[in-house]
């Protein structure tokens, strides 16, 4: 028994390459594969010059951000009556605070290290820019987090900040005395922004490679791809 599929018998099982390449899904796939080859996206070898402690602070920042998000999700699930009253809630609330402290601590050292090695060299301008923007957005997230504490500290910070923010004109859409609005910024909008920008930052690092030190790279600090690496990931050369 045969089934009429409407496809001529001489037609190939799959669409021909030229037809496929015109589809937006195919074009997106080809662009993604070209920009981020799997061995470059998840490399198993890294440049020998990465055998330095100064290169660990980027991943420490990402790990701290993961803890911030995990503990923030737990706080969101359990609610204020839990984190204000129970000892376990206090513990998770403190974990959320201290992971933020670690996040900024490691991010600032990462920033210093990349600034002094001019990490924007070798067509890495967008990598640097996304790092700067994610830092600024993180400052906003931390600020709205302080405003969401529901204690005298948050009241003090909001009343101190309102005049400065209102003087810029932003107070009409960003009212620091509006607790509900600040909480929504803190748990919805700013985390989405940080996740997107930080994710783009990591992808760009994978795309262009880790910036070499001045002594190793040439004047232009050409992008170092995994093809030039010498040491397995996690094992310094």
């Amino acid at each position: 028994m045969s089934i009429d599929t409407g496809v001529p018998a001489h037609a190939p099982a799959h669409a021909s390459a030229p037809e496929e390449s015109r589809q937006w899904t195919a074009r997106m796939r080809h662009a993604a594969e070209s920009a981020f080859p799997p061995d470059q996206l998840l490399p198993d070898r890294q440049p020998a010059y990465m055998a330095s402690w100064i290169y660990v602070f980027g991943v420490l920042t990402v790990v701290s951000l993961a803890w911030v998000i995990i503990t923030g999700c737990i706080l969101a699930i359990m609610g204020p009556s839990w984190w204000h009253v129970s000892s376990t809630g206090h513990f998770v609330n403190s974990l959320h605070l201290w992971s933020v402290e670690a996040f900024f601590f490691f991010m600032v050292i990462h920033l210093w290290g990349k600034f002094f090695m001019a990490a924007w060299r070798g067509n890495r301008r967008l990598t640097w820019a996304t790092g700067v923007i994610s830092f600024l957005v993180s400052v906003g997230a931390a600020f709205t987090g302080y405003l969401s504490q529901q204690n005298f500290d948050s009241q003090w910070i909001s009343t101190q900040a309102k005049d400065g923010i209102n003087s810029t004109g932003a107070g009409s859409v960003f009212n620091v005395l509006n607790f509900g609005q600040m909480l929504m910024w803190h748990i919805v909008l700013l985390p989405i922004g940080i996740a997107i920008i930080a994710g783009l930052h990591v992808l760009l690092v994978r795309r262009h490679g880790i910036v070499p030190p001045f002594a190793v790279g040439d004047d232009d600090a050409a992008a170092v791809t995994p093809a030039t690496t010498t040491a397995p990931a996690g094992e310094p050369a």
Partner: protein, 58 residues
């Protein structure tokens, strides 16, 4: 219970914060300590050798 009591004895967190005044610069002691710690960790990260795994035959 012992550790919080010990830390509470070392650092009084119940009073108002202490600030450093230096000309037009005003900064809390807590923030100053964090900045100093970051500088120390940054310098150590540059100076301390990264551990290297010995390879066979070396």
């Amino acid at each position: 219970m012992f550790l919080p009591l010990l830390l509470g004895a070392l650092i009084n967190l119940n009073g108002s914060g202490r600030y450093i005044h230096w000309g037009f610069i005003q900064i809390s002691v807590a923030n100053f300590v964090v900045i100093i710690l970051m500088i120390v960790v940054f310098v150590l990260a540059i100076l301390l050798p990264f551990p290297r795994r010995k390879r066979d035959g070396q």
